[in-house]
């Protein structure tokens, strides 16, 4: 389209599809990566954020992208924050493991975006000498679970055996036909980069955010990482959710102690 009027047409450079801004470039060794983006029951997000808090990890990079929704979040006091993903790290946690975390407001909102974001992250991780990937998510079962199991999927049989020791359940039938989104792609694309990866999926109803399922996932993950954390915060959150769901159930159930008006007339 040429300009037939006016004097000039500006050829302006557009924003890249994915932009990373480093606050710091950590030097890590044989690092382990933990992904906890939003998903079913926000199990992965709750688990990763809890670990970040408990291990005192620090944010070192922010990622913004056209593949996220065109949105800013309004934080306390009226300040805005462009929706993003964030990378955090901790050095020498527990028995000496370096860990990189990925958390954020959203996953990519379309298939191409999901692929590009996961591929982008994997290249960042290669750069950081990450050798092993843990992705965290929920496995929706459509009913409230008292003791959520943790299902697994991995890139090789050695990892399967290793993780079974920590109580992870690896069976085809239970995990259905596939793992969608970042938790799956980071494994599938990661394998092409030669990275050994495992996905932990905590059983969850899928109806609420599920701190109980997040705790189940963390109990396995902390063993695998060789770190120890306190679960008091997650327990507190789980109690709040339990009390909300209990109230909801009460409202739906018949209440024998409160006879209906009609029955009362009969008496």
């Amino acid at each position: 389209m040429e300009n037939t009027e006016g004097d000039s047409k500006e050829e302006l450079r557009l924003m890249d599809d994915i932009v990373i801004r480093y606050l710091e470039k950590p030097k890590l060794k044989n690092a382990v990566f933990v992904e906890g983006l939003p998903g079913i029951g926000n199990v992965g997000k709750l688990a990763a954020e809890h670990l970040i808090d408990e291990l005192g990890a620090e944010k070192f990079a922010e990622i913004v992208s056209k593949h996220f929704p065109p949105q800013v979040m309004v934080t306390d006091g009226g300040l805005v924050k462009l929706v993003n993903n964030e990378l955090w790290y901790v050095k020498g946690a527990g028995k000496g493991v370096d860990i990189v975390f990925l958390v954020g407001d959203y996953q990519g909102i379309n298939p191409e975006g999901q692929y590009e974001l996961s591929d982008f992250i994997l290249q960042v991780l290669q750069d950081l000498d990450v050798k092993r990937i843990f992705t965290l998510g929920g496995y929706g079962v459509g009913k409230i679970i008292d003791k959520p199991r943790v299902f697994g999927a991995a890139t090789d049989e050695g990892l399967v055996k290793e993780m079974e020791e920590f109580g992870v359940v690896f069976t085809r039938s239970e995990t259905g036909t596939g793992i969608n989104g970042a938790s799956g792609l980071l494994l599938g694309l990661g394998a092409l980069y030669g990275m050994r990866s495992v996905c932990f999926m905590g059983e969850t109803s899928g109806y609420f955010v599920d701190p109980k399922s997040a705790r189940s996932v963390l109990e396995v993950l902390t063993k695998a990482l060789g770190v120890e954390v306190d679960f008091a915060d997650l327990e507190e959150k789980a109690k709040q959710i339990d009390s909300i769901t209990a109230r909801l159930r009460e409202q739906q159930e018949p209440k024998p102690e409160e006879p209906s008006k009609d029955l009362g007339y009969i008496g």
Copy 2:
């Protein structure tokens, strides 16, 4: 795909994703930018267009893009206009402020388009020496509001305090979880360009175009800009809308003065 028949394949240059055509290149100093694209209740659009009229601003650029709907508008007399966004400016308004306006037929119709258009605009603004951004929009509350408040969100605490002086309400709970579209992105991406920005959102039902809410927003904005404008036109539009909504409410309410036929027979 090669050509197996025929003599030639044309490699034609395609239209850029976003094209700007300048009618004029204004020289501005410490300019302020006001965005008023279509949105909830068309509050921002009404406010920005009213300010353009009252301050006698002039159009200096037109933006067309693949991220807009594939459509022409038919104007009076049967002339067509490709849907676009427009940039207008005024120099030395009120106490001497240079203002750039963005108005238009549509926002970008998909997330990537929204990011690209906002990023494009920000680069144009950098070029024009714009230092501060005001984005205008509506905040839908689902009921008709007599005295619409103006909610705010900003890129720094200094701006929050400054705008609170003019009656803007900055609270997390009121503004919910996010601001979508250009009004949010120009703030979020603008911060990466080092621009101080604030978004004004007028309370509105969300069911009608809302000149009353636009006026509330303008009362705040004109104070912030140090300009004075007449609101007669907006008041006139507000009266028209009020009379339409009043008629709609009448049609839905029971009318005691007009007894139903059935009751009449009884009498």
Copy 3:
């Protein structure tokens, strides 16, 4: 994504977004362009194809594109044809006018594709020395029309006046808020290329393909082009459609000559 196994990764060239294959490159002078792609009531398509037949135009180029549906048409005898758009031409028609036609199976299936295809076509037209554009379409009114009027929209007032002479109706209120798709974009983008353009929209119910409306459009267009054509084929098609719609109406209407069983018993 690097390859960690295997010996080679192929970097293959992908198909262009739009590919044109010329069967012939006509030399034209001050040519006129007529667009008749599928749309409301297929009015434009019927009109353009009728004109191609009557003037004995010849196909000179085929356009395939990722912006069309991923589909082949199966023609008589089981042969396949990739869905496409086609360019046809005739030299020295009527009083000596060179005409280029655009017809096809589909318009672009998303907004970006619509923009890219229209822009692509306009560059081809520039190359062919096209000076004036006629786009043809239907204007849906939601009821069956006996004598369809032809509404117009144009890029300049001279064209508006010229076309009013042929009975085209140019009013803002009648044509609503916009013209979607190729019929609109070719005008809007064409103006940026300096091309004078007009769109003819035949009134149509929008429920059926509408040869009657196509005829109304052609009566105007042939006057504007200075050519004469026979309408027998379109009349025949119109009769077929009339007979189908008449039967449909009969089925829905009460039939007085066939009393209902209940009434029969009373008698």
Copy 4:
């Protein structure tokens, strides 16, 4: 979007839209290509996979793409596999034909992806000296068919005649208006590459995976390829499906041998 803080912005290379990884590069001569991707009744997929098994073909390449869903499949034992398409080959089958197969988890999930994947495959096939293409699919008829016919569509009349000898039905009316997806595009784009192609569509209800229809397609295809295969596996699968559909029909039909309670009381 420039970085206003931090020290560096990484310009990372993104994954290509389509990536092929060769396990082996077979040397083939005058090869024939058979496509069997998922589709209506999974007829093509069942047929191609059966032929791969029976002829002892070997996998030689894997294709991953942003145009597939962002998903990994979980295989037996908890191992993950990124969703992909696969190329298999066999040399000198039957009377000496070299065959290349395309099978996979998904087709491209949007129109552009469909075009790009088909074009990509065609370029790979050119490289492998493929001269003829067979695409396999189902033709949904909305009811269960006892003896599924095989409908055809082809790029030239010679192929139509040749395939009619094997019982393929070529009629326009039966195959409707088009063939969607890879089975159609490989023919339509293939013709532009000068490849002779034919599509076989087995009649199928469209409600279930249909091994019976796959067998009908294979009976034609094996004759066309000059190979012989055993159908025991497909027959076994067909029996399983028949028994499932029979049970479903029973559940929907009235059961005379089990009188309803109401009738029982009368007795």
